[in-house]
């Protein structure tokens, strides 16, 4: 399928809690997308390289340690530098509401709190597919 959307679910930072990341990866695959999971403890550089090498359309970031305000901006600026600025980026994990506007400002399309249904993620991807 030529128009299949390719997705990388990435775990930047040092936290090893990837129950959510693995669930999202598998549920998105069940929904018909091509999905790769990075595994835990990836640097921003490694994740961005993986996204570009794998030629993904979408990058989902999962972080539960509270380091999102440091790591997500670095990932976004690396993506821009290296020509990955057309990739749709969304995020999930333990991310306080008040941090969300700042993350959207740097180009993260949506931030999903714990307990978000998978359909909410799919809706964001499908809306982006239509609009692109």
């Amino acid at each position: 399928m030529d128009d299949a959307i390719r997705i990388l679910i990435g775990k930047p930072g040092l936290d090893g809690h990837d129950r959510g990341a693995k669930y999202i990866a598998r549920a998105l695959r069940d929904a018909g997308y091509e999905v790769i999971y990075s595994g835990i403890r990836q640097t921003p550089e490694a994740l961005v390289n993986m996204a570009l090498q794998e030629d993904v359309d979408v990058l989902g970031l999962s972080l539960l340690s509270g380091a999102h305000n440091e790591l997500f901006p670095r990932i976004m600026s690396l993506l821009n530098e290296k020509g990955g600025d057309d990739i749709l980026v969304f995020a999930g994990g333990i991310i306080p509401d008040e941090d969300i506007p700042g993350l959207k400002d740097i180009g993260i399309a949506e931030v999903f709190p714990p307990g978000s249904p998978i359909q909410a993620v799919i809706d964001v991807i499908e809306k982006w597919r239509k609009d692109r």
Binding site: L14, R26, A27, Y37, I40, R41, G66, E70, L71, G115
Partner: protein
């Protein structure tokens, strides 16, 4: 002999010697709220039933006696409540030291140190891998200097301290011993626990450093050190908690935790330690999850299984070796970011399961856990939850009060049966280290986690506030704010330590550690202690070991 006679025997043989040393809270005069008399421990005859005495002894027995189904101490909470031990730590050592002193002032009875992720993975705060993570999920410790600050004005001969540290557990234990030395407290007076459980890091928690073989060696080195020098210290806390958080069910939690425990005992016996010399200091850590009765059954089943495993599989002779002491923590994964105050109720139910299940110590989560680290108010409410259970609920006034419930006892048997089958499967696969290497355990956990989440998504499993009774536009709750400067301050502090120490001593000690590590049979605790005393940093010691041991890489397939 009736079971009443049997209870009299227990009171004379097992209870009386302990009562002499540790009297009951109210001198045995505990009653219900309305003044009804309470037995210490109930038997079928108290409910007008009869039971076959030998079956009763084999399956349940009495508290403090094999097979420990009913609890590990003869007095349980009638003597002393469980230790209320709240996991805490954030930012720098100075800030965490303040929080510990606050918690001790509020009536907390033991410390539990949360380290940040760079510390847990052996990186100094100025290492590139530490970027953004310093002081976030716990306190940053780079060297003995930080550890001295962390425990300043906390007398280490008076508190017990649990440290959630795994891959570099030997290094942090050495720092604790060295701080105690400076306070004039010898290691044999220290009480506490290091988590030191690497196998569950590979399958569930992720803070591994080295491959399994050298990791197991570090663990048996700490067993040997603790056996010789630290008789009051728990050399490991074999943890099902994170396995459950990663998505396993209750049976898998018991089975995989006990399979990990079997691997550690095997490894220690293999290097020549006598099982009865160290098994009494092995401790456990379980999750207290939402299904109240299943959880109570789980704790009771785990105790009985461990007693049988130690006796039958390892030939232990000392009853202490067979008694499973465990810490419990309420489930983090069961808490919701939506309508967070509902979590206070959830935590109460989880904590009740742990208390009815006979936990030795307990951490109750804060209601804001799905949002951030706890605020001071949320942390206090969590501690108050335990105090209300202890002082107001009455469930601590008799021992193992749910024993004899047809449902609970049937669940205990079923959990034991299914977990035993799992352990047999793991044995057949070549043991737990092999089963982890093959990805078998990870797959099992992932399948359960996926199944659970699908049930939630499809509404077959209701979580209040998530897929039923949602509210729009919730008012915001207070959140703990991270100190954005902590990383910078901590990086400067470790740089300062590197300048102000005796460089030659550090180099010599690190070189000695490296050669000890290359000798595959050598002890590593003493060389690590020397490194720590000379203010070698956690990162330097870890890098030295990485040079020799290499690093573990997870294979991921989803």
């Amino acid at each position: 002999m009736s079971l009443h006679d049997e209870r009299n025997r227990w009171e004379e043989e097992t209870l009386a010697p302990v009562l002499g040393k540790f009297p009951e809270r109210h001198d045995g005069a505990l009653t219900t709220a309305s003044g009804l008399p309470l037995e210490r421990v109930y038997v079928p005859e108290d409910a007008g039933l009869t039971a076959d005495e030998s079956t009763f002894r084999e399956r349940f027995g009495f508290p403090g006696e094999y097979p420990y189904t009913r609890g590990v101490q003869p007095t349980m909470y009638r003597g002393r409540f469980w230790t209320m031990r709240q996991y805490a730590g954030f930012g720098t050592a100075e800030e965490s030291n303040e929080r510990y002193k606050y918690l001790l002032n509020q009536g907390q009875t033991g410390l539990s140190v949360a380290f940040d992720l760079p510390t847990q993975i052996g990186y100094d705060s100025d290492h590139p891998m530490a970027f953004g993570e310093v002081g976030k999920v716990g306190v940053a410790i780079d060297s003995l200097a930080d550890m001295e600050t962390l425990f300043a004005n906390i007398p280490l001969d008076k508190v017990s301290t649990s440290m959630t540290i795994n891959a570099p557990a030997a290094i942090l234990l050495a720092m604790y011993v060295a701080v105690a030395e400076k306070q004039g407290v010898p290691p044999d007076k220290l009480r506490g626990t290091i988590q030191n459980d690497i196998l569950k890091e590979y399958v569930a928690r992720g803070t591994y450093m080295f491959p399994p073989a050298p990791s197991m060696r570090l663990i048996t080195n700490t067993f040997a050190y603790c056996t010789e020098h630290m008789p009051l210290w728990n050399s490991i806390s074999i943890s099902g908690y994170h396995i459950r958080e990663a998505g396993s069910d209750a049976v898998q939690e018991v089975a995989f935790t006990l399979a990990d425990a079997i691997a550690y005992v095997d490894a220690a016996v293999h290097i020549g330690l006598d099982v009865d010399a160290f098994a009494g200091r092995l401790s456990f850590f379980f999750n207290a999850s939402p299904d109240l009765l299943e959880e109570v059954a789980k704790f009771r089943a785990a105790r009985r299984m461990w007693a049988r495993i130690l006796k039958e599989r390892f030939g232990a002779k000392n009853p202490r070796s067979m008694a499973m002491r465990f810490h419990a923590q309420t489930s983090g994964a069961a808490l919701t970011a939506q309508q967070p105050l509902n979590n206070v109720v959830r935590v109460t139910l989880h904590a009740l399961a742990a208390v009815l299940g006979g936990a030795q110590s307990l951490h109750t989560n804060s209601y804001d856990e799905a949002l951030s680290l706890p605020t001071e108010q949320a942390a206090r409410t969590a501690l108050r939850t335990q105090q209300i259970l202890a002082y107001e609920s009455g469930v601590a006034n008799s021992i193992d009060p749910l024993a004899g419930s047809y449902q609970v006892e049937s669940l205990v048997d079923e959990i034991e049966k299914r977990a035993t089958e799992y352990i047999a499967k793991i044995d057949a696969a070549g043991g737990m280290v092999r089963a982890i290497d093959d990805g078998m355990i990870q797959n099992e956990i992932e399948e359960s986690a996926y199944r659970f989440q699908r049930e939630v998504e499809e509404g077959r499993r209701v979580i209040v506030g998530i897929n039923k009774y949602e509210v729009a536009n919730e008012p915001p709750v207070d959140r703990m704010k991270h100190d954005a400067e902590a990383e910078q301050r901590q990086a400067e502090e470790v740089a300062r330590v590197r300048v102000h120490r005796e460089a030659n001593a550090v180099q010599t000690n690190l070189a000695r550690l490296e050669s000890a590590a290359r000798d595959t049979n050598g002890d590593l605790m003493e060389p690590i202690l020397e490194c720590v005393r000379s203010y070698a940093t956690l990162g330097e010691i870890s890098d030295t070991l990485r040079t020799v041991f290499g690093e573990y890489r997870q294979h991921t397939a989803v």
